[in-house]
């Protein structure tokens, strides 16, 4: 299978093959992160999700603390939209802890006031 590695701007073209013993071989990567990505992507694809939640002053931007199961993408977005921002949010605060029991937190990445 052919894939583009998304772990850095270089975007290496990965070639992924599965041996009969189940071993996964990744080629075309320029660094170990590519191999890790290739293996992950054909077993259980994960993505870092970023979005915002509105507040009365503007928005807070949000990011998953690490990549999360891709199948949960829209569930994560929905859960975030249904969660209110507490007063006086700070960058680095945990917005949602252990979302869907994945051990991934939703973190506040920025506070944005609109003029």
């Amino acid at each position: 299978m052919k894939l583009v590695c998304i772990r850095c701007p270089r975007g290496c073209n990965l070639n992924i093959t599965k041996k009969s013993n189940g071993q996964i071989i990744v080629t075309g990567n320029s660094c170990p992160r590519g191999e890790e990505y290739g293996k992950q992507e054909i077993t259980q694809p994960k993505r870092t999700i970023t979005t915002i939640q509105k507040t009365d002053f503007g928005t807070v931007s949000l990011v998953t603390s690490k990549a999360i199961d891709k199948n949960l993408y829209f569930d994560v977005l929905k859960k975030i939209k249904n969660t209110k921002v507490k007063p006086n949010p700070q960058v680095g605060d945990v917005f949602i802890k252990n979302i869907f029991k994945t051990k991934v937190d939703i973190i506040i990445s920025g506070i944005h006031m609109c003029e």
């Binding site: 894939l3 583009v4 590695c5 998304i6 772990r7 850095c8 701007p9 270089r10 975007g11 073209n13 320029s30 993505r47 870092t48 999700i49 970023t50 979005t51 915002i52 509105k54 507040t55 503007g58 928005t59 931007s61 949000l62 990011v63 891709k70 993408y73 977005l77 960058v91 990445s109 920025g110 944005h112 006031m113 609109c114 003029e115």
Partner: protein, 412 residues
Amino acid sequence: MIYDVAVIGGGPAGMAAAISATKEGAKVVLIERDYRVGGILNQCIHNGFGLAYFGAELTGPQYAKRWEDELKKQKLDIKLNTTLEQITDCKKLVELTVVSNKNVEKIKAKSVVLSMGCRERPAGAINLCGTRPAGVFSAGQAQKFVNIHGKMVGKKVVILGSGDIGLIMARRLTCEGAKVIGVYEIMSKCGGLARNVAQCLNDFNIPLHLSTTVVEVIGEKRVEAVVVAPVDENLKPILEKKKIIKCDTLLLSVGLIPENDLIQDFDIEFDNVTGSAVVNEYFQTSNSKIFICGNVLHVNDLADNVSREGLQAGKFAALFAKNKLIPQNTITIVHDNHIKYTVPKYIHTNSTGTATISFRVDKEYHQVKIIAKSNNEIISQKPSPVVIAGEMQSLIIDKSKIKNDLSLEIEV
């Protein structure tokens, strides 16, 4: 009061410049028109920043915050909500006219670092036929509406141009509930990074139509549809094959241009390829008091590189202000025609240390060697499996090896 260094713009370039100039012992003022520093990074809420500089994958706001925290540790003046309106050359000093929400002020400095970033090519820059209804945005404008103001721009969206900001916004608008009908690109190759095609379009089944463009906008008050057509090899639309696509919003992601209006009325050497000033390896322009870095110098694809440029520019601007940057002989870096431009264009001879030469190639090449030669001898080289026009390249040079000339070549 006379400052040693005035830094204009508090994006990644300006923050880095202000930090390094202050660390060099200079008296520094940083001028930023927004209510905060961080520049365009504040609205780039996606991840993918900082890998080169911090070895961590950060979002734009997180990357900006790391630099802001470092900036706040330094002793310097930061003027927010303050816009530079005019630069005047007063022989030994530069006079800056700045406007804030309180007053108009003149600031004097021995050297200036320009780091005002870039702006997007607007709709007017790409002859679009049809009406002028609401619902046409540049991708960055839409990014600000959605991410900073929390306001959606539309429900059914067509994106013209496959620059990275357009691809990022295709995903972003989809996540906010819009239907992104497709991305249309006049060229036969995608303008943005392959990773953004994978994670912003393919993940959401958003089609990318190459060699296709928008030829007309339809709608009275609000966009009602756009007309798209494939183009021939001369990029001329084949109107017999045009198609009407119903939508309420058109986003343009058709390139960035340096924010250079203020320097254009200044007498400094200009480069038509980058659309900005020409510099030596100190990021110094032909007016020795003026330094320039980041996207106002040449449009970068990585914020990490912008920060590196800023660190250099700030340091040398401080050295110049303290009379420690002795003028010396420079030579022009020549390059072959696979290379579109180099930053810097000039470099000092009889010098020590290293210099990074950044450049862009004209198209895609495979299995190449990037070579720097002086006096017909190779002084630096690096193999590269692939170089593409969309990705800035660089080569590090040991300056002590430069004789009386320096040339940069791509061995294909």
